[in-house]
């Protein structure tokens, strides 16, 4: 994970994690050129898998230009044109995290350009939904784009960062829902477990926010412990934390766990 230290890989392996699944995302600042993305895609597809492998951790990734950098249409087009050069790399599972940030017209056009690439190369799709007051509107706009493209199979799409007001919208489409765990603000482990109890455990997974903000790479194992305290069975915990992500990701022939 480009935003984390090697210690985090060590902690994840110690806690029983077997693979890391890293989306292309914002660098914390706007990259100035497509060359910057070329280097970033090399880092995601070549360097990070080696760094993770040192700890016995499989590394998979997703490629795109993040919605936060999608207002500049020229840059977005140049970056999207780079994706086919990397798409056959061994750890690339698909296109992501695409989506919306402020729900603007240009962000929507760039989302559609990414969906086009995913359809053309038959890739899985990982979608970022906007945060806070923008999430509801953004989720609806994103679902409309994906539903209107008949080439996109809903079971091959995961809509990430769902919360209580968007989870049902997502699950009703047949797409997968991702709950991203944050130590402060947004979804906590307790709320994620509430959503599992209310909306069921099919087509849903949890992931740890591991970005530039305060985040906890071990949020998923910690949530598993909290599920145990709440009386959930080992089988159900295993389904949500382990089997479900495998079920989704193995739709890509590149997803393999050796352990």
């Amino acid at each position: 994970m480009v935003s984390r230290t090697t210690d985090d890989y060590q902690d994840m392996v110690t806690a029983g994690c077997e693979a890391v699944c890293e989306p292309a995302f914002w660098a914390g600042y706007d990259r100035k050129s497509a060359d910057g993305f070329y280097d970033y895609f090399c880092q995601l597809t070549e360097h990070e898998p080696k760094r993770a492998a040192k700890f016995g951790l499989a590394h998979f990734c997703w490629l795109c230009i993040n919605p936060k950098e999608s207002e500049d249409m020229g840059l977005a087009k140049d970056v999207i044109d780079l994706i086919p050069k990397f798409i056959d790399k061994p750890g690339v599972l698909g296109i992501g995290e695409i989506g919306l940030n402020k729900n603007s017209r240009n962000e929507l056009k760039v989302l559609e350009m990414h969906v086009e690439v995913a359809a053309k190369y038959d890739q899985l799709i990982l979608v970022h939904t906007p945060h806070l007051e923008d999430k509801l509107k953004g989720t609806k706009l994103i679902l409309d784009v994906l539903k209107s493209d008949k080439r996109i199979k809903p079971e091959r799409v995961i809509i990430d960062h769902v919360e209580e007001h968007t989870i049902k919208l997502v699950k009703d489409t047949g797409m997968w829902a991702g709950m991203t765990l944050y130590p402060e603000s947004k979804c906590t482990p307790a709320r994620a477990i509430d959503m599992l109890e209310v909306y069921g455990t099919d087509r849903i997974w949890m992931n740890s926010a591991c970005d530039w903000g305060i985040s906890v790479p071990l949020a998923v194992p910690r949530t598993m412990l909290e599920m145990k305290k709440r009386g959930h069975t080992v089988d159900l915990i295993d389904k949500v934390a382990y089997q479900n992500p495998i079920q989704f990701m193995r739709q890509s022939p590149k997803f393999k766990l050796t352990a």
């Binding site: 402020k102 603007s104 007051e133 923008d134 999430k135 509801l136």
Partner: protein, 90 residues
């Protein structure tokens, strides 16, 4: 878990968060100057806690959400601030 067990597991944490909210509102009251729409949005969202159905978290989130459907002409800022001015009732 039954209700007793839920209380055993989460009451102290929820109590602490509730006192934090009370202290936050006191802090805002003591501070000089005018508040922006976020304070009214916050007070409005608090009313959702009195709802009689177990959908309070969803309703609080909806109360802070932009309900419009048309895309924004241009994204002039990157971040979100947590509340939508248009939702605040006078």
């Amino acid at each position: 878990m039954n209700r007793q067990q839920v209380l055993d597991m989460y009451f102290m944490e929820a109590r602490a968060k509730l006192i934090d909210i009370a202290a936050f509102l006191d802090r805002v009251d003591r501070a000089p100057g005018e508040a922006d729409f976020r304070l009214a949005a916050f007070r409005q969202a608090l009313k959702e806690l009195d709802g009689g159905t177990p959908e309070r978290a969803k309703n609080v989130l909806l109360s802070f959400s932009d309900p419009s459907v048309e895309p924004l002409e241009k994204a002039s800022v990157k971040g979100a601030i947590g509340a939508f001015a248009g939702n605040v009732k006078d």
